[in-house]
Amino acid sequence: MGLDDLIISLLTDHTVRIVGAGALLMGITSGVLGVFTLLRRQSLLGDAMSHAALPGLALAFLLTRSKESAPLLLGAALAAWAGALAVIAITSYTRLKSDAALGIVLSVFFGFGLVLLTVIQRLPTAAQAGLDKFLFGQAATLLQRDVATVGVVAVLALGAVGLGWKEFKLLSFDPAFAGVQGFPVRLLDVLLTSLVVLAIVAGIQTVGVVLMSAMLIAPAAAARQWTDRLSTMVILSALFGALAGIGGVILSSVGDSLPTGPAIVVCASILVYGSLLFAPGRGLVWQRLVTSRRQRMVRALRVLAQLYWLGTQHGDPLRPHPAGALRALVGPDVQASLRELAARSWVRRLDDGRVALSPEGLAVGRDFLVETEPVLAPGTPESGERTA
């Protein structure tokens, strides 16, 4: 099957469209709520909460004996909430720190969920088949009804974020100041955590409980690299989440035994690493470039300073000097610096290998020496001795 066939079939196939819609909703919701989770440094809480959803799913199934998504997701939401409450209770009533509390909640809830799943697998009925898709997600099994449920959840969550935008922003930046102005901080916190629960619920069928937390972290972390505005960050994060969702669905429909969750997370990771490396300003590559350019510039200015000083020693600042003399003064990488200076036409390179300051270079040299007198002014013992 060629690529264009694949694309056409993806766009027209009913199942793929449903699955794509599910992934899109999941990506957008977790992208948006993930921004707040990330900025409030609650990524690990998101992780614990999504793992904690598993026993809720299993219990809901045991109670209803059906794979209807609404009751299962309700069970998941309640359990995720219980997980968050358990973390709060452990940190406020024991001496355990929050990382310990998160670890305990995650492993206890998730372990219990796995036990329940095992019990369910042994049931004599056939209805339980495929419940383990909630571990790693299997978007291909999404039904239209499921997507409709997820859609309601997503609209609720996003609508609430839009409505309480100013309040959630303040809560995330400076909760104490929110309290000073009379906003009920505890209530806002509960609301925002509930919205994160909704995001988890919206993604759990597509991504699964194990990898759901990656969707709360990755798109937001990638988005943070590209912008310094909260609103832009939220939009970008939603976009990245949607991209990862769709990309993952396509990946897993091509490689047919690949569960959707891991495929989506692979896509999200690519976005994160790409952003960490290449985003302008914050990206590592960018910073490396800027730093090395600055370093080169400083080295070049050192050479310029030496030229200026040599010139003033001889009573003529523009007088040419042999490059060798400079090398003795500033070290072996003088050629690179001279190229840099020549490129800015601060220095003229003569055919006989000598170099001279240009009038512009002279002006720069004067400024630079005035600014950095104590550090780079010639006549420091080192350079002074060798030329004396």
């Binding site: 440094r41 935008w165 100013k166 930046f173 100041f177 000073v180 906003f183 310094d228 909260l230 960050m233």
Partner: protein, 252 residues
């Protein structure tokens, strides 16, 4: 001295305040009366409970016992009248937002639920930034600010709260001499406008110059009153647990 018929208004009246985070009380049976219109320093060693006192006045920590009244009323009724300048280290300055945005947050309480800041809030925020000498930096990302600039952003945010009482937690911590002068100027203009300012202050050398009222605190209230009466060697020795005070003056 005879009392006037109506008591002179107290901006803040703290009675029998006791606060404990765990078992050991951080504030013990503290009484403080802050007359309206004073510039008051809160002085005491690290861990004395100064921040906790401000937070208790603001309703951010729940006291084990005691009451706080603001202009004779419970805080809830007059919340808008109290502005807060927290220590600038209290928040994450890598948060994706601009100086102007942070200052406008001081208007959120007045706006109430769901209403977004608009041009009026913008104008107020810009005026406050002007007052603290930060107007040109309005659109800067907050991660690119020095400690002194962060402190001034928080001061501007409190100014737009347009309150009658300003509580400031170590406004001079980690700022250079220039910023310190700018902040003192703002404090004085607040007092000139009839506002009350309460600031946690660590530099004993400047207490007399900056403040006309002092609270000496170390878990208990050691003394509270006009600087000239209260800011004495003896009281300071008590506050700092008998240690030589002049050395304490250098701490930050």
């Amino acid at each position: 001295m005879t009392q006037p018929l109506s008591e002179p208004t107290l901006a803040i009246e703290v009675s029998d305040l006791t606060v404990a985070y765990r078992d050991r009380p951080v504030l013990w049976d503290v009484d403080v009366e802050v007359p309206a219109g004073v510039l008051m320093a809160v002085v005491g060693p690290n861990g004395a409970g100064k921040t906790t006192l401000l937070k208790a006045i603001l309703g951010l920590v729940r006291p084990a016992a005691g009451t706080v009244r603001v202009f004779g009323q419970p805080l809830k009724a007059v919340r808008r009248l109290v502005a807060y300048v927290p220590q600038h280290r209290d928040v994450d300055w890598d948060f994706p937002t601009s100086v102007l945005d942070v200052v406008m947050m001081g208007r959120y309480g007045h706006l109430g639920w769901f209403r977004r800041p608009g041009s009026r809030e913008r104008a107020l925020a810009l005026a406050a930034l002007e007052q603290v000498g930060m107007r040109e930096l309005a659109h800067r990302q907050i991660s690119q600010l020095s400690g002194g600039q962060q402190q001034r952003v928080f001061l501007a945010r409190a100014l737009v709260q347009d309150a009658r009482i300003y509580l400031m937690d170590e406004p001079f911590a980690g700022v250079d001499a220039l910023t310190e002068r700018a902040i003192v100027k703002v404090m004085r203009s607040l007092r000139a406008a009839g506002k009350t300012v309460v600031a946690v202050h660590h530099d004993l050398q400047t207490v007399r110059e900056y403040f006309d009222w002092v609270l000496l605190l170390n878990v208990r209230r050691i003394a509270c009153g006009p600087t000239n009466d209260v800011f004495t060697e003896e009281n300071l020795r008590q506050t700092y647990g008998g240690r030589p005070v002049i050395l304490e003056a250098r701490r930050t």
